[in-house]
């Protein structure tokens, strides 16, 4: 259990490091997907299979695909790479990394001292998972139900608000793309009756 956790954690950290240092945006994105998959495994090993599945479905499978589309849409090629290379100069990253290293040192110190409140509980849970073989599966199944009961019980308002948020996203997405669509600053009204700006599109012609 612990070994798997640390392997997955290490993969996540390394992959995230690669995300920062890649020059091509698509390569960075692929590493980010790997990082999310590793994170999902971490969740699974910690005994939260539902969260693990959602991590893959929502982050790796949906939001990253959106990023991929955006990258394919604005693919800038060489110029982009040159700019990334520029950002890789020590002058650009040395101060942020020193600051982050200080934070990391604090975290490592706390972990080594055993002073993090959650750590003992997590350790106990891990030990319980390793020992209580029979109960684990049923417990996890009940966990998903518990999520549902909590969401549609005390947190109902949050769920309905999320729905309104999604609605806003839907409307915003439409307006965002319509304005891009009709190139030369046509008003959104033109989109209703087959905007002329749309006919010169590259893809999707039947």
């Amino acid at each position: 259990m612990t070994v798997l956790f640390y392997i997955a954690g290490a993969v996540a950290v390394i992959a995230t490091g690669m995300v920062i240092t890649r020059r091509k945006a698509i390569h960075a994105l692929l590493y980010l997907v790997v990082s999310f998959l590793a994170l999902a495994l971490v969740f699974y090993v910690l005994g939260a299979p539902f969260v693990a599945a959602l991590e893959v479905i929502v982050y790796a499978g949906a939001i990253m695909v959106l990023f991929l589309f955006a990258l394919m849409l604005i693919d800038a090629g060489r110029a982009e790479e040159a700019r990334e290379r520029d950002w890789m100069r020590p002058r650009a990253w040395i101060v942020p990394s020193v600051l982050s290293a200080a934070l990391l040192a604090e975290v490592v110190y706390l972990l080594a001292r055993g002073g993090v409140p959650g750590r003992t509980a997590a350790g106990a849970a891990a030990a319980g998972g390793a020992a209580g073989v029979g109960g684990a599966a049923g417990e996890a199944a009940a966990q998903v139900k518990a999520v549902g009961i909590a969401l549609f019980g005390p947190y109902l308002l949050g769920v309905e608000l999320a729905s309104i948020l999604l609605l806003a996203g839907l409307v915003a997405a439409h307006h965002l793309t319509v304005d891009l669509d009709s190139e030369d600053g046509e008003t959104a009204g033109a989109a209703d009756s087959g905007a002329p700006g749309r006919t010169r599109q590259k893809g999707g012609r039947p």
Partner: protein, 316 residues
Amino acid sequence: MPDTAWHIIEVVVMLLLPLLMAGGLTVVERRLLGQLQDRYGPNRVGVMGEMQVLADAVKLLGKEDWIPPFADRPVFVAAPAIILMSVLASFAVIPLTSGFAVADLNVGLLFFLAMSSLGVYSVALAGWSSRSKYPLLGGLRAAAQLLGYEVFMGMSLLGVVMMAGSFDLSTIVEGQRGLWYVGPQFVGFVVFFIAGLAETRRTPFDLPEAESELVAGYHAEYSAMKFGIFYVGEYLGITLVSALMTVLFFGGWLGPILPGWTWFLLKTSILILVVIVVRAALPRVRYDQLMSFGWKVMLPLTLINLLVTAAVILAT
């Protein structure tokens, strides 16, 4: 330790079985399509052409494995690997018979959805990394199509989830002892079948690789074994969707007299044949029809099915 041995047997069976079925399918499909179109199909190698698989494999192995110099090398190589891995991984949660699954996850169905959502990367990246116009268009089309149909593919299965009260595939099969879910969840089945065809990019939804307009679509620049992986990946996808339909709607391994796994294989094979016959029977749809059909017909239908199923379950 017999326990370990048993696990290894499970792994090997669940790997080899789908691969063998997918390999066999490449010939079965061509033979069957030939018969349906009143011609022979491949019938030269072996007694009835069944050794064509081997001939094809040897041929693919003997071709130059060419990576275009203008392509993005690492991504170009990763794209076929992603599709093979994501489909093979999904087979891990399919229960072949009672207690026989590589990973009997309690969120098995969500696992399948998660893996199939990763399949989008394969086609989009294959198209993008080829740095060539036809593959790019094919990849974009494929990605948009997969996204559009994935939305309600997940939701079409929720009727089954509600009836069984579980995401666990074995529990879902056990829940069908009295009545197969294809009866009460007929709408869900039809929607999932159509979404499954679109997800595996089968006719009538094979626009991403429409040879008459896009050459071979997103894998036009692929050759030799990398093309072979895409090819096998497509048939693995069909096998997976058929196996999943068997589990979710046709009672999985349940059946009289014969052992469970024979029932499972029988039902899966019949569904695969249906998929092939659909290819012979239907023409390719237009891309705008495909997209608007998904959003305008299937999505509302799925939501209505969802609410009606919930109401019926609560009423009884």
